[in-house]
């Protein structure tokens, strides 16, 4: 379903949405048409020649002859909005030649990457792998020594250390092709800002240490643990190869989404849940002006095939097919905070680096104190941001509610709640 919301989620910024709304009006357009999932039209701009705008919903990709550097431009978004509101304005027709030409040139798949056809050179691959292993060994050795130095000095002085102390180490770890370790080091100053930083930093350093230790004896570990450790260090997994594996068919329910931006890098996290209670996490990234494509809406079910990344347990996954909307009931969550925490402990025993654990819980009621959810037995799950307390209270009116969120071991970040017959996203802009 192409809802307005979904079209707007493609926009690179708010002003594009505004401009596109103005253009979603037939008086700006001529030569409109559609064929299959391709839409096109001529949009009269300020110049004499109208802009040639087209969109391919299947990918989705967009093209426009306007000089805008934004992608998609307001004309493409406007075309989509026009079509979304009144599809009949775009008659079924054969695409004009400029659409076909532009399509060949500009097609940019956003969801699926087609496997490359050129066969890999095994020798070159082996050489690159050996090179990388050498760099990584340097990185892990450096970080091991760095950690021991930190142990010798103690943590009491850590909050007073300048940013440079952490940044230098992180930069070194990027150089050694261990971006995962670099990220872990950069996380330390963030944790130092928390009120319970002693515990949080200890926990984090413990995990770094386990990772280094694990890498030191990686040959003796089972394959899934090896993959987990390599990925945590920052080894990319071969997504093309993953895509050739057999996928796990749906239907899947989108139980939560969260988008954030960090240094020009946009990340979209999408949590899926199956009727059998399996979960999967999709990650999408976009740099700069790139568009984060979000084909999902919270609470909806999709027929889609997934492939899990390699590692301990099953969490991160890739889409192997395009999601097709289908229908389904509100997903059934787990009852009881105690049971949930035991499940988390079990998963933690398998994978000590677990950062974000999906929590789909039923029967929760906001507590008398802000920032708490209480189950039927009176057991508490703390959550943040506390501003979501009243939204949850308003939705459920104190009756047991199903909530999905990300559990970081300390607090839940609730993303979606069910009530009044549908799912409500707690992440929407206006709610904060």
């Amino acid at each position: 379903m192409w809802t307005l919301q979904r079209i707007e989620s493609l926009a690179p910024d708010a002003s594009s949405i505004k401009a596109a709304r103005g253009l979603a009006d037939p008086r700006h357009w001529s030569g409109l048409g559609q064929h299959g999932e391709v839409l096109w039209g001529l949009c009269q701009g300020s110049g004499k020649e109208p802009y040639r705008t087209h969109a391919d919903l299947a990918k989705p990709t967009f093209g426009c002859s306007c000089p805008s550097s934004k992608f998609p431009c307001k004309h493409a978004l406007g075309l989509l909005m026009l079509w979304g509101g009144r599809p009949a304005l775009l008659p079924e027709a054969a695409p004009p030649s400029w659409v076909a030409d532009a399509k060949d040139k500009r097609d940019r798949p956003a969801v699926m990457r087609q496997p490359k056809t050129t066969p890999p050179d095994p020798e070159a691959q082996a050489r690159r792998a050996a090179q990388r292993a050498g760099r990584v060994a340097e990185g892990t050795a450096f970080l091991g020594q760095w950690l021991r130095d930190l142990m010798r000095a103690g943590l009491s002085g850590a909050p007073a250390l300048p940013d440079k102390h952490w940044n230098d180490a992180a930069a070194r770890l990027v150089d050694t092709q261990t971006p995962g370790l670099a990220r872990m080091v950069r996380r330390i100053p963030e944790l130092l800002g928390l009120p319970d930083w002693q515990l949080r930093v200890a926990e984090h350093l413990g995990r770094v240490h386990l990772l280094l230790e694990g890498y030191g004896r990686i040959e003796q570990l089972p394959p899934d643990m090896q993959a987990e450790i390599r990925t945590r260090l920052g080894w990319p997994q071969n997504q093309q190869e993953l895509m050739t594996r057999r996928g796990l068919p749906g239907p899947w329910c989108v139980v939560g989404q969260r988008q954030f931006e960090d240094d020009n890098l946009k990340t979209l996290r999408t949590w899926l849940w199956s009727a059998q209670g399996e979960s999967a996490l999709l990650l999408d990234f976009a740099v700069g002006n790139q568009v984060l494509f979000n084909p999902f809406s919270a609470g909806a079910w999709y027929e889609v095939e997934l492939v899990y990344f390699e590692g301990v347990g099953r969490q991160r996954a890739l889409l192997k097919s395009l999601p097709v909307p289908t229908s389904g009931p509100a997903p059934q969550g787990m009852d009881g905070v105690g049971r949930f925490l035991r499940g988390y402990a079990e998963e933690l025993a398998r994978n000590p680096w677990l950062e974000s654990f999906p929590a789909l819980l039923s029967g929760l009621v906001p507590g008398e104190t802000s920032g708490t959810l209480v189950d039927g037995a009176g057991q508490v799950l703390p959550f943040w941001p506390a501003s979501r307390h009243w939204k949850l209270a308003a939705l459920g009116g104190g009756s047991p509610t199903t909530v999905f969120g990300e559990w970081d071991g300390h607090r839940l970040r609730p993303l979606v709640a069910w009530g009044d017959g549908r799912a409500w996203s707690l992440e929407a802009e206006w709610t904060n």
Binding site: G22, L210, L341, A345, G397, S399, W430
Partner: protein
């Protein structure tokens, strides 16, 4: 864990040696390696071993609310900051369609109500029972609960807020407003007394006389001035009688019959005293530069006088004034009195004779205003177009034709700019439907028009979505 945290904070350079805790006793390696292993072991087991605390959940809302929920896409956008100015219209629509706000949006909407008092009644009307349940739990939203929220403003509000509130009450229940003010009169500051007494010009009656007369001897000059004015409005008071005598001695209409009654002429005769007249409460104070000092006395004198003293038809008086040197003060004064007395006859006569002003214009009955729009759209000041509301389909159609014509012609700095400026406001008063029309975007003037037209269309488009959503 305490031992672990202690060692971790201090570092191995200060604390090392054998561990006391059995959990860590068997660790191997250098002191640093031991500490790292202990950290990993201790913190992961602490995370895995946590037991949830207990607490009380919120009490359940047991009230049934059969009112169906409104669709909320546009509401969500407005709460996110888009087209916030249309929120009152959305709330009104929601109420007339018999819907209520989906509970999920209540916290955001009630928070709007916390900041904006004027929206509270509209919010309360569509918030449903869940909102009452919420308001009982969050003191910020208690405004929904107070039966007589109004009285609370009166009792606890600040000066201007109370004065505004009292003015509203005075329009609805003049008696009650007076009784309330009498109770606190002695303790109000002079500024507040004057401010609050101002609103008594609405619904003024003989029952207010004692109170106003007492105020006319107030120790504050400000209050005395307001009271003196009110006494002039009060029928049958000495103050009014004296005032009318004075104004009539200044301004007269001389009707002459010429040519044996075949032709009549009326002439405005103005005889102002050479010296500034006695004016203890400074009702005629001359602090205006638009008119000369004498003209300004005259204007004030006319503004303060009841309209009934001008015997004959308004047209006769206004035309005579227009033929005299005193058009400006006379017409200004009549305008003020007309709005105060809500006199349609005078409003009509004044509007037809170059007076302007939203309040005068809105005194005309809707059908009459619309008729005037249809006939004289091009002659009316553009502001009037935006003051009129709501537009019928026919009037809107005429307006769009007019806009097309005006956007097509050359940009006339004064005429065009005034129209362009009210364009976004016009989007609020026309029927909520984007007109299908081709704007002349190939003219040289288009770059001036286009931002305003964009605003106009964007607002109208949003209103259209709102209304479609509520169908």
């Amino acid at each position: 864990v305490d031992e672990l945290m202690g060692r971790l904070m201090a570092g191995t350079q200060r604390v090392s040696g054998p561990w006391k805790s059995g959990l860590f006793a068997g660790l191997q390696g250098t002191p640093e390696e031991q500490l790292l292993s202990a950290t990993a072991l201790g913190s992961v087991s602490a995370l895995a071993g946590q037991l949830p605390p207990s607490a009380l959940p919120l009490a359940q809302d047991t009230a049934e609310d059969p009112t169906p929920l409104a669709r909320e896409e546009t509401l969500a956008e407005m709460l996110g900051g888009e087209h916030r100015e249309l929120l009152p219209e959305w709330l009104g629509l929601c109420k007339t369609r018999g819907r209520r706000v989906p509970p999920f949006y209540l916290p955001a909407l009630l928070t709007v109500g916390v900041r904006d008092r004027t929206l509270r009644p509209a919010i309360a009307a569509v918030a449903g029972k869940r909102a009452l349940w919420l308001a009982r739990r969050n003191p910020e939203w208690k405004f929904l609960l107070s039966q007589d929220e109004d009285l609370e403003i009166w009792e606890t509000g600040s000066g201007t807020v109370r004065a505004e509130w009292l003015a509203g009450l005075r329009r609805r229940e003049p008696e009650r407003a007076r009784e309330l003010l009498q109770q606190t009169w002695a303790t109000e500051s002079a500024d507040d007394r004057a401010r609050m007494l101002e609103s008594f010009e609405h619904g003024l009656s003989a029952r207010d006389q004692d109170f106003v007369e007492a105020a006319a001897t107030d120790r504050s000059k400000l209050v005395r001035r307001v009271a003196a004015r009110l006494l002039i409005y009060l029928p049958g008071t000495t103050a009014q009688r004296q005032w009318i005598e004075r104004v009539r001695s200044w301004v007269q209409l001389r009707r002459e019959s010429r040519w044996m009654g075949l032709s009549k002429s009326t002439k405005l005769e103005v005889h102002l005293p050479a010296e500034r007249p006695e004016d203890p409460e400074q009702l005629l104070s001359a602090d205006n530069t638009m008119m000369g000092e004498k003209a300004w006395w005259l204007g004030h004198a006319v503004a303060l006088s009841p309209l009934w003293i001008w015997e004959g038809s308004p047209e006769e008086w206004i035309d005579a004034a227009r033929a005299s040197d005193w058009q400006l003060p006379m017409q200004w004064g009549w305008g003020v009195a007309t709005v105060r007395e809500r006199n349609v006859l005078w409003a009509r006569a004044l509007l037809e004779r170059q007076s302007s002003g939203e309040e005068l214009w809105m005194l005309l009955p809707h059908a009459e205003r619309e008729q005037m729009l249809l006939q004289r759209m091009g002659d009316l000041p553009p502001k009037w177009l935006a003051w009129h509301k709501p537009y019928s389909e026919a009037a809107a159609q005429r307006l769009y034709e007019f806009l097309l014509q005006r956007t097509r012609v050359r940009w006339e700095p004064n005429v065009s700019r005034n129209l362009a400026q009210v364009l976004p406001d016009l989007a609020l008063v026309v029927p909520p439907k984007v007109p299908l029309m081709t704007w002349p975007d190939d003219t040289s003037a288009w770059s001036y028009w286009s931002p305003r037209v964009e605003q106009f269309l964007s607002r109208l488009h949003f209103r259209q979505r709102m209304h479609e959503e509520m169908k």
